[in-house]
């Protein structure tokens, strides 16, 4: 690698995080630390019924007996769970504001700065947004319009109040609280997140979207999202996330559950841009996320698309349980790590039903001194006749101090299963850079073009409104100039 390339790479690794500002707003927090009183405090703040509190306390008692999963290729100091705030809300948020006139102008300004205007007329056409600030949902747009179709799109807190029958039936049905320590932790202390229910036969006419923002210091964000697509329905959902620049690490442990009934389809896209830490690896979000979808009914389909550019640590495996016959699970992922970021991400496809199909396309890009691991598990249970999986994992290394790792597990108990696996690792190619530059493109433009080309297969799976944004984000993650 020649010196100019190294210079360019060096400038990339000093990339600036443009969402790193802090909103100065008075907030309300209980004491730090995790105990039964905190859980009772959260539950009370949310005005929850007793059954919900008991559900949380049960999860907490499970968590107390559990240890963090340690099998990932990640290095980080012990998390001190007693040194975290478990709830933070802007003052005066006892009740969710009825409309924007009740929202603190500072909050509206924050979201304008993030490019997420809350006024419906300014919102991206055809996208309904629920915005979550620290532990509370601030606003949900286009709610009225969706209600006419019988679609429920609200914060999970509101759903617990208004739709207890759905919550009782589905919450924790895909990710049991006792699954592992982060799911138990989330179940005990989750604060807000989104709830979606699409009634039978309804195709949701717009993209649903949640925007998560961590603002307060030393505060964990534990969001919980639950999406249910009833028979024959369709929904496309997108989440985005950012956080201010801080020198301390912050914990984000979300749980997302999807349920697709017969003939239903859920498309779930994530653009994750939490603060990644600075160029020396100081600060950044610890992102321990559990996402799991259940294709419960025949011919159902769940598709995960993720663009992971942020966080100091990403531990995330959006998975599909393919229970219904002929059901389909898909996972498309771009993970970019720079500086000292560490990502251990992938998916789990569990084939239970007959003729189930899964497809995994993973693109990992490592820069700086980062480590990027794809970890996947594809399993075929005994009754999964004629099930198929196709996996493709490609890694691109930029520079010579980073690492790319691929850890695929395959487990088949049915000999009619068909499994295809392709993997490649390549370095960014000097000849490609030379070629682009000979046509007049700058070094940075050339790298960005080549990396975007490498990710194209995944980026084109994103809803159109976000594909362009995601492309820009990919470029920004590489560039030093924007910020």
């Amino acid at each position: 690698m020649n010196s100019e390339t190294l210079d360019t790479l060096d400038s990339y690794s000093k990339n600036k995080y443009k969402y790193g500002f802090v909103t100065e707003i008075a907030n309300e927090k209980p004491n730090k630390g995790l105990n039964e009183n905190i859980i009772k405090f959260i539950s009370q703040k949310k005005n929850e019924p007793e059954w919900m509190l008991n559900w949380r306390l049960k999860a907490y008692s499970k968590w107390k007996q559990m240890k963090e999963p340690k099998w990932a290729n990640l290095n980080f100091p012990e998390i001190d769970y007693q040194d975290i705030y478990y709830y933070s809300a802007p003052k005066g948020f006892e009740k969710k504001p009825k409309d924007l006139s009740e929202v603190d102008p500072k909050l509206i300004e924050t979201y304008n700065k993030l490019g997420i205007p809350l006024e419906e007329q300014k919102v991206l056409a055809g996208v309904a947004v629920d915005v979550v600030f620290d532990s509370v949902s601030v606003a949900t747009t286009y709610k009225g319009e969706l209600e006419k179709l019988g679609i429920i799109f609200c914060s999970i807190g509101e759903a617990i109040q208004k739709h207890p029958e759905l919550i009782k039936k589905y919450l924790g049905s895909v990710i049991p609280p006792g699954d592992h320590s982060f799911s138990a932790l989330n179940s005990a202390v989750f604060t807000d997140g989104s709830f979606v229910y699409i009634p039978e036969g309804v195709k949701c006419p717009m993209e649903l979207s949640t925007y998560f923002r961590i603002n307060a210091e030393n505060t964990g964000q534990f969001e919980r999202t639950l999406i249910i697509a009833d028979k024959g329905s369709y929904v496309s959902y997108l989440e985005g996330c950012t956080a201010p620049k801080r020198d301390d690490n912050q914990l984000h442990a979300a749980n997302v559950e999807l349920i697709a009934l017969e003939d239903a389809e859920i498309k779930y896209s994530t653009v994750q841009n939490w603060y990644p830490g600075d160029e020396d690896g100081k600060g950044g979000i610890y992102n321990f996320v559990t996402k799991r979808g259940l294709c419960a009914g025949k011919n159902s389909k769940i598709s995960w698309t993720q663009v992971e550019t942020g966080s100091a640590i990403t531990w995330k495996y959006p998975s599909c349980i393919l229970k219904g016959d002929n059901s389909i699970g898909e996972f498309y992922s771009v993970a970019i790590t720079n500086n000292y970021q560490q990502a251990d991400t992938g998916t789990k496809m569990t084939h239970i039903g007959k003729n189930t199909k899964s497809k995994i396309i993973s693109k990992g890009i490592s820069l700086g001194k980062s480590q990027n691991t794809y970890r996947g598990e594809v399993s075929f249970l005994r009754k999964a006749d004629k099930a198929r999986n196709y996996t493709q994992c490609d890694s691109l290394l930029v520079g010579n101090k980073c690492g790319a790792h691929t850890v695929p597990y395959i487990d088949s108990k049915n000999n009619t299963a068909v499994i295809e696996h392709e993997a490649s690792t390549s370095k960014i190619n000097e000849d490609q850079l030379y070629y682009c530059r000979q046509r007049g493109l700058s070094h940075e433009e050339a790298v960005s073009l080549i990396v975007n080309g490498f990710c194209k297969q995944v980026l084109q799976e994103l809803p159109m409104e976000f594909a362009v944004e995601a492309q820009k984000l990919v470029s920004i993650s590489l560039e030093g100039s924007v910020g």
């Binding site: 190619n429 030379y434 007049g440 493109l441 073009l449």
Partner: protein, 246 residues
């Protein structure tokens, strides 16, 4: 002088490739450089384009009143230098349209010209492609990815016609082409030729020069130009090979 190469000596990995090479090219001229394998022809092309693997030991290159060594690869390209590669590299996932669109605009920016918008560019690309007999479907594919040798070369000529360079260097563009492809490529070059641009055509075989008439032919052997003249030299080489120049 449009392009002036003076006493150029270049080495790569302790091997001297170019030795006191001199060459002058005026506006509107077509020069052919012929020579046996390993004589340093491609090195000359890459040194002109600015590839960084070479060590310049001595000499100067002036291009359009610039000291060429002050400009990096992309600046040379933006100044109007184009290299049609001998082995065009594949760039998976990158479509020709945004690729060339950025390329043409970076050139226009340097020349303080207005950038060309998406729609006008798409039209330009289509019309140039049909001029060169290139199927529109080829424009939907990724740059050079999965192309045959002939397709890659035609694609180079298409890019050349879009970027409309002042100096086009064709590095063994004829290698690996059948007669039909060769005709398409050379037709493209002839269409582009004006009194304001120049061509440097590097080739091993005389065949190419049946289709493009050079004003000057230079014989390059062992890192230097040993003989210059008109197209009669090409005929000599055709008859007797490079033996007598060595």
């Amino acid at each position: 002088m449009f392009l002036e190469i003076k006493d150029l000596s270049v080495k790569i990995e302790n091997k001297n490739i170019l030795k006191s090479l001199n060459l002058n090219v005026n506006k509107g001229e077509v020069h052919a450089i012929m020579g046996p394998n390993g004589s340093g022809k491609s090195t000359l092309a890459n040194v002109l384009a600015g590839k960084e693997d070479y060590e310049i030991l001595d000499g100067k290159i002036n291009f359009k009143d610039n000291d060429l060594f002050d400009l990096n690869i992309e600046e040379r390209a933006q100044e109007g230098m184009f290299l049609a590669f001998q082995y065009p590299v594949e760039i998976p996932g990158v479509n020709i349209t945004p690729f060339l669109h950025s390329a043409i605009n970076s050139k226009r920016k340097r020349m303080n010209e207005e950038e060309i918008d998406n729609l006008s560019f798409a039209k330009l690309l289509k019309s140039k492609a049909s001029d060169l007999g290139i199927n529109i479907d080829m424009l939907k594919r990724s740059v050079n990815t999965g192309f045959s040798g002939g397709e890659k070369k035609r694609y180079e000529i298409l890019q050349m016609s879009i970027l409309n360079p002042d100096l086009a260097i064709l590095d063994e563009t004829d290698s690996g082409l059948d007669i039909d492809a060769l005709k398409i490529v050379t037709d493209g070059v002839n269409k582009l030729k004006t009194k304001d641009n120049s061509f440097l055509i590097i080739t091993h075989y005389q065949k190419l020069l049946d289709y493009i008439k050079p004003d000057y032919v230079h014989v390059m052997v062992n890192g230097s130009i040993v003989k210059s003249g008109g197209s009669e030299i090409a005929a000599e080489i055709e008859k007797d090979g490079f033996q007598k120049f060595q």
